[in-house]
Amino acid sequence: MTATLAVQNTGEAAVFWICGALAVLGAMGMLFSRKAVHSALFLAMTMINLAILYVSLSAPFLGMVQVIVYTGAIMMLFLFVLMVVGVDSSDSLIETLKGQRGPAIFFGLGFGVLLVGLLGQGTSDMPAGSLEQANTVRGGNLQGIAELIFTRYVFAFEVTSALLITAALGAMILTHQEHYKPKATQRELSEARFKGPHPSPLPPPGTFARHNAVDTPALLPDGSAAEVSLPRPMALRDTAVNRVDVEEVDEVMEGHDVVVDELDAATDDTSGEER
């Protein structure tokens, strides 16, 4: 008994320290990432570590629910919305509000210290306890939880389900876009395009020997990048044309001097002289 306890304790201790540390690291990574997507992924990491901790705390059902619902559904929902909102919108980590950063750090840290200190003061030794009895009374952790949910807390259960339905409806209503005009037909779109600045279809993104992605711009005859070939979100990024791509083109084109010279004559491009 004590041996199993000791083993259990050692194992549990190991799980605690590893998963706990990783959870904290994930949280800090979430805080200090520049890109929002990285934050979301760090949070997912934290959550999975927490799920493992739940399992080690004799709450296997909860641990699974954590992974499936929390990490799997909720974090993914976060990621979807991030994509809609702007996946590359990155905050600079420099604080813009005056007098926010210092106090925030102090009080944030202090808050944590206080909480931990309070714990130290309150009950200096909280026994570990055990859920063995509770988990086996009804024949398992899941059954035990189910009994509680459907007997004593059934009202809360019903209310939260109503809440879920309401939330789903609410989300639908909030994000619904009312179309007040009839949808533009193909003919109307075409007419608008011809009346606009660029009648012809836009060039597709570039395709090169080594790079072939939606964020790689097409090259114009004089070697410069065509910005209109990129989708707008990509165009906002800092993607200058990779010099390697340009040199690649040169290598391929080496044999075609006449074409290059004529190209040089056609445009006043200094990049041509560099060649």
């Binding site: 979430m30 709450a59 905050d91």
Partner: protein, 99 residues
């Protein structure tokens, strides 16, 4: 591990989440910090459940997750709508109620 280790961990995660709310400007990241705080409290509940030897803490953590899910749904929908009209997801943007 005694329960206070878990509680200490929960406390640390909670305060990190709180700090993050003050620190990040992206609305979605702020929301994620809220989720972190909720998770930390869930951890505390589960640890206490084990300490007391009954499953009520776990049930409560379960309900917390449900509510968190509902909250995330509605909150993100709001962010989407705001983004549609304002083209920005920074929490510093709506600052008209200033002096």
């Amino acid at each position: 591990m005694t329960t206070d280790h878990y509680i200490a961990l929960a406390a640390i995660l909670f305060s990190l989440g709180a700090f993050g709310m003050l620190f990040r400007r992206n609305a979605i990241v702020v929301f994620m910090c809220v989720e972190l705080m909720l998770n930390a409290s869930n951890l505390a509940f589960v640890a206490f459940a084990r300490m007391h030897g009954n499953l009520e803490g776990q049930v409560f953590a379960f309900f917390t997750m449900v509510v968190a899910a509902a909250e995330v749904v509605v909150g993100l929908a709001i962010i989407v709508v705001i983004f549609r009209t304002r083209r920005s997801a920074s929490v510093d943007e709506p600052s008209l109620l200033r002096f």
